[in-house]
Assembly symmetry: C2
Homo-oligomer: 362 residues x 2
């Protein structure tokens, strides 16, 4: 057997087509551009220890000395090298947020919530788009292991989270919206089962009996839970759910919703109402219905999920289930911060309330 250079090392770089690290040839230890703490110390006529103390706001420095140091810092344009500091203190003050698709406006407000809590606590939050791809997901999780970040919040499909396996359970992260209660990872989300039931019951109350479900990928916990909520609400109303009314899509794009709706309408006994598990899908559904000559809500009623800001803008305005997006994000961030502060504390699971918002579409 010959050499196996491809096994050479655990993958170092993010992507699949990643180059070896050597790619950028750096001849020598590199002349750092700015001055280091030593330069400042020299310029101020003190030791590096004193500069460090000033930098960190310790109070055991004589004011006069402090001022001298400050002046030297100012004059030299010195900036702390966080790499060095972080290596020394073993923390990076960086939080990662992993989303399956940052094109979906649903995530925007959640992420804002996370960001605001993070910065209030002196952390930076950085966003990662995993594309719901396990490989990318893993590469971001690896940033935790490799100490580039202190913690992470994951909004990826529960299935992907589980695929990470036990190895990740010890890592400082929390789940948001998507989670597996059994995993022992702190989470925050809503009661998708009840929420979906609420939506369907609203449709039923409006007199609909043939109610379609346009669902997303069952990789998502919410997809499975909302489907169950839909099924049970129907059964409870004495309706046997027809499998032909149900569709699973592997995308939340508008186009996906549009063509699914058109397809649903091609059936002989087409639904008179459609519950889409995401507002983006629902907006596509409305478009698709229009394209096959159906009026909303007169011919077909449509209900969505999330209550993104767009929902109120379209024609007709979308009836939907509102999620407390900002709070979801804020709570997730707080859970993570708690976990970081106290790694072995209990891991709570939090469910936040949803709300049915009735507008023109159903």
């Amino acid at each position: 057997m010959s050499r196996t250079p491809s096994r050479s090392s655990p993958p170092v770089s993010p992507g699949a087509g990643s180059q070896p690290r050597a790619q950028t040839p750096r001849p020598f230890p590199i002349a750092a551009d700015g001055p280091s703490i030593a330069g400042v110390a020299e310029q101020a006529g003190v030791s590096v220890a004193t500069v460090s103390r000033v930098l960190n706001g310790h109070d055991n420095v004589r004011p006069a000395t402090r001022d001298r140091v400050l002046a030297a810092i100012d004059a030299s344009g010195y900036r702390v090298n966080e790499l060095a500091r972080n290596l020394r203190t073993a923390e990076s003050r960086l939080l990662l947020t992993m989303v399956p698709d940052f094109g979906n406006p649903f995530y925007a407000e959640i992420v804002r919530g996370i960001d605001s809590v993070a910065r209030q606590h002196g952390y930076f939050m950085l966003l990662c788009d995993t594309g719901a791809d396990p490989g990318r997901e893993r590469s971001y999780f690896d940033m935790l292991r490799r100490r580039r970040a202190d913690g992470a919040i994951c909004l990826d499909p529960a299935t992907i989270q589980q695929a990470l396996g036990e190895a990740s359970q010890a890592l400082p992260w929390v789940a948001c919206c998507e989670f597996d209660p059994e995993m022992g990872v702190p989470y925050v989300g809503i009661d998708n089962y009840r929420a979906a039931g609420d939506a369907v019951r609203h449709l039923l109350a409006r007199g609909h009996r043939r109610i379609g479900l346009i669902n997303s990928d069952v990789d998502y916990l919410y997809a499975r839970q909302r489907q169950q909520g839909y099924l049970d609400a129907l059964s409870d109303a004495g309706i046997a759910p027809d499998p032909r009314w149900r569709m699973n899509l592997n995308s939340l794009d508008y186009e996906a919703g549009a063509s699914a709706a058109a397809e649903l309408m091609r059936q002989p006994d087409a639904p008179s109402a459609i519950f889409a598990v995401s507002d983006t899908l629902a907006i596509g559904v409305i478009h698709g219905l229009r394209s096959v000559g159906k009026r909303v809500p007169d011919d077909v009623a449509v209900a969505g999920f999330d209550d993104i800001s767009l929902a109120a803008q379209i024609d007709p305005p979308l009836t939907t289930i509102a999620q407390p997006m900002r709070e979801l994000g804020e709570t997730a961030a707080r859970l993570l911060l708690q976990r970081l502060a106290n790694p072995q504390a209990n891991v709570p699971g939090v469910l936040l309330p949803h709300r049915l918002v009735i507008r023109g579409s159903a």
Copy 2:
């Protein structure tokens, strides 16, 4: 004069309400969780140098030795500490992308373009939401100075970029969509002046003479350029632009567009066509027009800008100027990578082509 503890140091943490770093008390140098390279070396019965060589895929290691090291790595669950590695190599392989609002779908596709090029080259891309706030912008730029990231791509308003001042010019970053050609920073964007002209000329060709402009904040270069394109296109057609037809909004939210449109319609000689400088605005405009009883395009025509995926979904489908979003992002990433590879190379400015997409709204 008493102590001035508040001056103590250049701000260390991101936000305004940030705590001192001491916040999380860490008693001792911290027991790192995983094994270090030394542990692996010991376990494999080799020196740290050899482990490092294996880790970095150098080929001057005997296969048998390599396998022993690999086994030790596997067994111990070792992960490279990037903090240490980065400190040593003086690079982080992290790229930052700064956007004013990641709720705007316009940015999503651009960011995907950046991300894909970045990971192809072995870099991670992390997204930062500045909220178009100079302070936050600055704090992210500081991550460059503090060596937490190797480079950045900035999509923030040109005005904010300029406010960063000369100090930032030496930093490894490029501008995308928004830029000041005079700043000597590489950039990629489109010809906003011509694009806006194209939109307005389309409206003129449809027979409109009273054409309104719903513009965003003039902090944005594109806002100024598109306004000029609008004005000149009108003048060229022998129309004296009426200032009452123009509005500047400090938001791109749907709601902002909606209320602006309603307000525009309250005028005696209301426009028969509206050019909105963003699709999100245009979508809001359509909603606003509908809310005051105007039909689109029969009563009022509407043209947008960007061609986000939603544009084709709404009713009526939006006539708009398409920006090559993916390419904008990819190009920005490539420019940055170039600049990183060769810091003193020439800084190109790139303009990509736009395209008028005619749909139902105008």
